[in-house]
């Protein structure tokens, strides 16, 4: 049996395969030995695996690196041929339909071309995951059939590809296409979103700072209800605490928070209170993380966003009227004083000999400068006084001389 045929037979006989990977030929022997030991038989040193091209056990598929090139070439040419035949055939049947003199059911040859396209594109995409034409061919067939199991199959294939190629843009995009197709029609959208969110978390665990994966999760937010957004925020909290360098995860939380704050049904003041609480809680979490993990850029950038949200929230009363009252001034002052104390603690405690502490000093200084830039004009004067007292300019020169021009940009 030729290589492509072998692969396709395996894929057909085990539809539950949920992980694919490449294996070096030498690993086949190790894997076989391991299985041999675990499954009782004699520990014969000279054990030889029967198949040194594919490995399929417990719904995991391994492909030998040795056969990658011929296999990929074979899959590609088989797919291209099948696609050509399929297109020629569907063009022909379209022309026949226009004839209208005869009634045509789905001809068996057309179905066989379709299944050829599906079979070969599946094998091909496992080997060359960003081949858009192969994904498109599948969309074409699935769209024509309009059957839920076929759509679900697509989600499965895309997840399989993502199991080893976490960043495959085409695989992520294919998922979004499928979801848009089935949303509302066949399935409960909220359930799909919850499942997708879990998938992203699983993949994000294995591939750090994966822009494509997190972008997919951010895309889901626009389909979420307020409750779901609040739930997601709560659910991703621990993950964020364990992955403090993953800016994408913090961005996802920012996206959720913005979604929550924009989601106002009517003039319900209880939402305002809840939104405020969400920001406050996140600020507290962020401060705790900043003190635990020294010198993490992502944490300080997240704080910029949170502080800005809080200040903006304070500037608008519950009735949405912008106000300059003394109580608001007071609250902002209290907040800024608190931030200055945080800055102070980041600058004084540490021993600048260590790289982390140096980074902490730099990020905290930059954080404060950024805040000044973003704060409305009329508050700058009082801040300026505070900064002079805090000697920020000297600190800036010391911790990050290459960024000291930003002081002049602020025109302080």
């Amino acid at each position: 049996m030729d290589l492509l045929n072998q692969l396709e037979t395996i894929l057909e006989s085990d539809p539950l395969i949920d992980e694919v990977g490449l294996i070096h030929p030498s690993q086949f022997i190790t894997l076989s030995k391991e299985c041999n030991e675990s499954s009782n038989s004699s520990a014969d040193g000279a054990f030889r695996p029967a198949n040194t091209k594919f490995w399929n056990r417990d719904h995991k598929l391994g492909i030998s690196t040795e056969i990658l090139l011929p296999l990929c070439k074979a899959a590609k040419s088989a797919f291209m041929d099948a696609m050509k035949q399929y297109k020629t055939h569907s063009d022909l049947s379209v022309n026949k339909h226009e004839d209208k003199n005869m009634v045509y059911g789905p001809s068996s040859s057309c179905q066989s071309f379709e299944s050829e396209v599906m079979k070969h594109s599946r094998a091909l995409l496992l080997l060359s995951c960003d081949l858009g034409t192969a994904w498109n061919a599948r969309k074409l067939v699935v769209l024509k059939k309009q059957q839920l199991p076929m759509f679900t199959d697509e989600l499965h294939l895309s997840a399989l590809v993502l199991s080893y190629s976490h960043k495959s843009e085409q695989a992520w995009s294919h998922r979004r296409w499928v979801i848009k197709m089935i949303a509302g029609k066949y399935s409960n959208l909220q359930q799909i979103i919850a499942k997708e969110s879990e998938l992203v978390e699983k993949i994000a665990e294995r591939s750090k700072m994966n822009y494509r994966a997190w972008n997919h999760r951010c895309w889901l937010v626009s389909y979420m209800t307020r409750e779901q957004m609040l739930y997601e925020l709560k659910k991703s909290r621990d993950w964020a605490g364990l992955h403090v360098a993953d800016n994408s995860c913090f961005h996802y939380r920012r996206r959720l928070m913005l979604g929550i704050s924009e989601n106002k049904q009517g003039d319900d003041p209880s939402y305002d209170v809840e939104n405020y609480e969400v920001v406050k809680e996140e600020l507290d979490l962020n401060e705790a993380l900043i003190k635990r993990y020294i010198g993490r850029e992502a944490l300080w950038l997240h704080r910029r966003f949170l502080s800005l949200c809080l200040i903006r929230h304070l500037m608008t009363t519950t009735h949405g009227i912008s106000c300059h009252s003394t109580s608001v001034d007071n609250e902002i002052n209290i907040f800024l004083d608190k931030e200055l104390r945080l800055l102070d603690s980041c600058l004084t405690i540490q021993d600048m000999e260590f790289e982390d502490s140096e980074a902490q000093a730099m990020y905290s200084t930059m954080y404060f400068l950024w805040l000044i830039k973003q704060i409305p004009e009329f508050r700058k004067i009082e801040l300026q006084e505070k900064l002079k007292a805090g000697n920020l300019k000297n600190i800036l020169h010391k911790t990050c001389p290459e960024r000291s021009f930003l002081w002049d940009v602020l025109e302080l």
């Binding site: 090139l69 080997l127 060359s128 858009g132 626009s222 961005h251 950038l301 966003f305 830039k373 290459e402």
Partner: protein, 329 residues
């Protein structure tokens, strides 16, 4: 100081095209059109475009065009806006836009604009601000920007702006140097840069420079030659390029060269590829001649002539040689 190994890079780029029997070349085969653009533009910047057979390239490009007007990444594949821009850019590079049915290409791109002003990459509907940039850049080269709804296109891009001043793929998407380049580029081409808070965006961008001098594409990431290009050119467009240390950046890019066999990698000591070779070369030239600023502003925007790209490169070469003369004095 290490210099740009021009001859080695030319040799490397030409060798990539000949090596067709590796796994990498088989799986990259579907985006050959992009590869052609990267390789040929790098060759042009290195002053060696005459080492390729123009007729061969052009007849291959035309074989990749579809009935819809769009181009695919290689013969027999589906069309996509990504490859359509590369095809148009390569033709412009050779000053051969006249072989195109311009209306047909423009119709393909116009057809991809959605109601909200965004652009899909192809008929399957994935939306991304990258595609907005591509559509606008491509139509600018073809001098028919008026065929799309520019106002809506701009407002969609602005809806993808984040509180940190950066831009993402879709509204609410994380800021990313590549996306920022696309959004800022699209705004520059449509004369809409006044919508950008340049200090705020410049702030985010200049914070991409890490200790080694290289630039990363997002916070906490490693520096990379291609991101160095996206950040650098965005900073040039918003007139904040003096906010980074250019000498350190050039040194970083030069350290990514394979000085023996040619080619440039993403970061020092990694394997080279044609994509990073192009961005590395472009970054170096950009540093000395502000190539991108010239391409974007002088040509597309102000003159808006059909053979503008060609002129830009001529302009750039003149400037580069002037600069090197000044530097040697």
């Amino acid at each position: 100081m290490v210099e740009l190994a021009v001859d080695k890079h030319v040799k490397y780029i030409l060798s990539v095209e000949k090596n067709k029997d590796s796994f990498e070349s088989v799986v990259m085969d579907h985006l050959r059109m992009n590869g052609a653009y990267w390789g040929l533009t790098a060759l042009d910047l290195l002053g060696k475009l005459d080492s390729v057979n123009v007729d061969e390239v052009i007849s291959w490009i035309l074989k990749c065009q579809h009935e819809s007007g769009g181009f695919s990444g290689n013969i027999g594949h589906d069309p996509h806006i990504l490859y359509t821009l590369s095809a148009v850019q390569v033709l412009a590079l050779f000053n051969k836009l006249d072989v195109l049915d311009i209306d047909k290409v423009a119709t393909y791109i116009t057809g991809l604009q959605n109601e909200d002003g965004s652009f899909s990459g192809d008929m399957w509907g994935e939306v991304d601000t990258r595609f907005s940039y591509i559509a606008i850049c491509c139509l600018s080269i073809l001098c028919c920007l008026d065929k799309i709804n520019v106002e809506k296109a701009v407002s969609y891009i602005l809806s993808c702006k984040n509180l940190d001043g950066g831009f993402g793929c879709t509204p609410g998407g994380e800021s990313h140097a590549g996306q920022i380049f696309c959004c800022v580029g699209a705004l520059a081409l449509t004369g809409s840069l006044h919508y950008v808070d340049k200090d705020l965006l410049g702030w985010w961008l200049c914070e991409r420079q890490v200790k080694s001098g290289g630039l990363n594409g997002r916070p906490e990431k490693l520096p990379d030659v291609c991101y160095s290009w996206w950040v650098l050119s965005s900073l040039i467009m918003i007139d904040r390029v003096h906010w980074i240390d250019k000498e350190k950046l050039v040194k970083f890019i030069l350290d990514c060269q394979d000085v023996e066999n040619g080619g440039i990698s993403d970061r020092p000591d990694d394997a080279v590829d044609v994509y990073h070779t192009y961005f590395g070369v472009a970054g170096i030239y950009c540093h000395s001649a502000h190539l991108l600023a010239i391409v974007l502003f002088i040509c597309f925007h102000e003159f808006n002539m059909r053979n503008s790209v060609y002129d830009a490169r001529y302009c750039c070469r003149t400037l580069t040689s002037q600069l090197s003369r000044t530097e040697s004095h």
